[in-house]
Amino acid sequence: MQPAIDLNARRCDQYPVHALDPSVAGQLAEDLPREDFLRIIHTFHEDLLRLTGEIVAAVPRGDVVGFQRAAHSLAGAAAAVGAARLEAAARQGMAGAQPPSVALAGRIEAEAAAALAALAALST
């Protein structure tokens, strides 16, 4: 039975910048009952708000450890729902010992918003 995953994959492909990896997000939508999927998107949304807030707040403090830890959590959460670009941006924040970058924090925020939009579309 492939129609559901195909449909979800097609939905993911509709987003020209591919904020979501169709193989992950589509599989998730197929594996889980709809109410579970919606709940996960909802909690993912809450995690994004919290973690991007921690990342942005770490920049003016020069808090490398806090920045990297939040970036690590964000990378894991993003990977789990197939938010590939957000995961890539967060992984950049995990690496190295350089001071937290305003530019990277802004990019992470933007990717988080794109991932949420894509997931919201997938859940409709």
Binding site: L32, D36, T43, E46, G76, A77, A79, A80, V81
Partner: protein
């Protein structure tokens, strides 16, 4: 039906936790969630999980550190590391820290469920193996102390039979723990919360036995001034232990048979029968079949009660158990008596192992109590033991011929002693030297219980050969050492001399070149 596996999910990101819970829902496992390593540790200690799904990056301390703490606390859950960091180093470190598997985020439902199922199966097998190993090497079981193979078999039989309603017939010499076995059967059974009622049939006057078992109503006989509930009713829902059942009069056996068959009985003087649910456990130190053949025990009752036989081994057949029990008794009795004893001298433990213990554990208990009460110190020395224990015969073994003299050898039975601390048991006879014939070191006593077979050693007849005393002495000491595989303590016990005498003689012979 077994309870669902308990999974502890350690994950600080809520959406990750929700995802894992949703993916595992179909597995029917019980999932608890901890957001920090500290909470996970507290949760695992309070309610040990079967498996832990562990994120490595946690707010308070790392997942690896948590694994070390869990291991140090003895939590044996199967740990599966779940991480966004897919590096080989992380995987290697996870395995080195004791993780059973490693999952990289993102993961598919099948990957998570298969990994968890495998980990749970492996853990179940490990636990089962551990349980079996523990069962095979356990040195305590309910009230029993003992790690010997015969006792492991007893423990297993008790466990196997406990859940059943089948009657158990316990046999064994006096002091082997028949009532302890009956209590263990009861405590291991589903009846454990109900009464265990023990009745010694041999200690109750014949006329009162029926009333003791079935109770009586007021006025049933002279002196029955009130209704009395018997053991059968008291044991309703539980276990009725009839000790020394071989002592039960035949007319009472008929009534007991009816009770065993129907579960119903009639109190003495009552007009109505009562029905109870009782599990029967009986014991005797006699051979029950021989009692049937002798007409002292009803055959039909025998077959009703002798459903699961349980034969308790005598202490002399339990290897090192004697020392284990003696140590436990010493600790317990020293506490009770306010003494400082901490252990036994090696010679004493040797003597405990060498002695045949015809009165079994009860006799050993009496000896240890005797030592604790009469002596002071931290270590029990040979001088504190009752003399009979040091004059002990070796355990039954194949006869070892001693050096023959010129005259034909004579067979001599070596002493089989009983301890003097057991007032109910016969006391070891003194030396008796007849004018002619074999020289008995001491005659085996006529025991009411089966005594160990005497060891036969051939000795030269002192009536014929006269040798220098020193020569004879050396020959006898060396022969005793050969008989006991060079065990000085036992050799000295055989010769009824102090072990230090044997050591001194051997040193002397070595010094003069008479002994290599």
């Amino acid at each position: 039906m077994s309870s669902p596996a308990r999974i502890l999910l350690v994950e600080d990101t809520q959406s990750q936790a929700e995802l894992a819970k949703a993916l595992l829902r179909d597995m029917g496992v019980e999932i608890r969630h901890a957001e920090t390593a500290g909470r996970a540790l507290a949760d695992a200690l309070a309610n040990p999980p079967d498996a832990i799904l562990l994120d490595l990056e946690l707010p308070d301390f790392s997942g690896f550190e948590l694994m070390q703490k869990l291991r140090a606390e003895g939590v044996e859950a199967a740990v599966i590391v779940v991480t966004a960091n897919a590096s080989v180093n992380t995987a290697v470190e996870a395995m080195r820290q004791g993780a059973v598997d490693f999952i990289v985020k993102p993961y598919a439902k099948a990957r998570l469920t298969v990994t968890l199922t495998n980990a749970l199966e492996k853990r179940a097998l490990t636990q089962e193996l551990k349980t079996v190993r523990a069962q095979l090497s356990r040195d305590r079981f309910f009230g029993f102390i003992g790690a010997s193979a015969p006792m492991q078999a007893i423990y297993r039989t008790i466990e196997s039979v406990a859940a059943s309603r089948a009657s158990v017939f316990i046999t064994g010499e006096s002091g082997t723990g028949k009532e302890l076995a009956a209590e263990a059967i009861h405590k291991a059974s589903p009846r454990a919360a109900k009464p265990f009622v023990a009745l010694n049939c041999g200690a109750i006057p014949r006329d009162l036995l029926e009333s003791e078992v079935f109770g009586h109503v007021k006025g049933a006989f002279t002196g029955a001034t009130d209704n009395r509930v018997g053991a059968a009713k008291q044991a309703d829902g539980g276990t009725l232990f009839l000790d020394e059942i071989g002592e039960m009069p035949l007319e009472m056996q008929v009534k007991l048979l009816r009770f065993v068959q129907t579960g119903s009985f009639q109190p003495v003087g009552a007009s109505r029968t009562e029905k109870v649910d009782v599990r029967f456990v009986c014991a005797t130190n006699r051979d029950p079949l021989a009692e049937v053949e002798a007409g002292r025990f009803r055959e039909d009752l025998y077959y009703r009660l002798y459903v699961v036989p349980l034969e308790l081994p005598p202490l002399r057949d339990r290897g090192q158990d004697g020392v284990l029990i003696a140590r436990a008794l010493l600790a317990q009795l020293s506490r009770e008596e306010g003494k400082r004893f901490r252990g036994f001298a090696p010679d004493v433990e040797q003597a405990v192992l060498a002695y045949a213990w015809p009165g079994n554990v009860r006799q050993l208990q009496n000896v240890v109590r005797n030592v604790v009460v009469l002596h002071e110190g931290e270590v029990v020395t040979p001088a504190m033991l009752p003399p009979t224990l040091l004059r002990v015969a070796p355990r039954p073994a194949a006869p070892v011929p001693m050096q023959p003299a010129l005259a034909p050898p004579a067979a001599v039975p070596v002493a089989t002693l009983v301890a003097e601390v057991m007032p109910a048991e016969p006391v070891a006879p003194e030396w008796v030297a007849p004018a002619h014939g074999p020289l008995p070191v001491s005659a085996p006593p006529a025991l009411p219980i089966s005594a160990p077979a005497p060891v036969t050693i051939t000795l030269p007849s002192p009536m014929v050969v006269v040798e220098p005393l020193a020569v004879m002495e050396k020959r006898l000491i060396l022969a005793a050492l050969a008989e006991t595989s060079q065990d000085v303590t036992r050799a000295a016990a055989l010769l009824q001399i102090n072990p230090s005498t044997v050591y001194r003689k051997m040193q002397q012979w070595k010094a003069t070149g008479e002994l290599l």
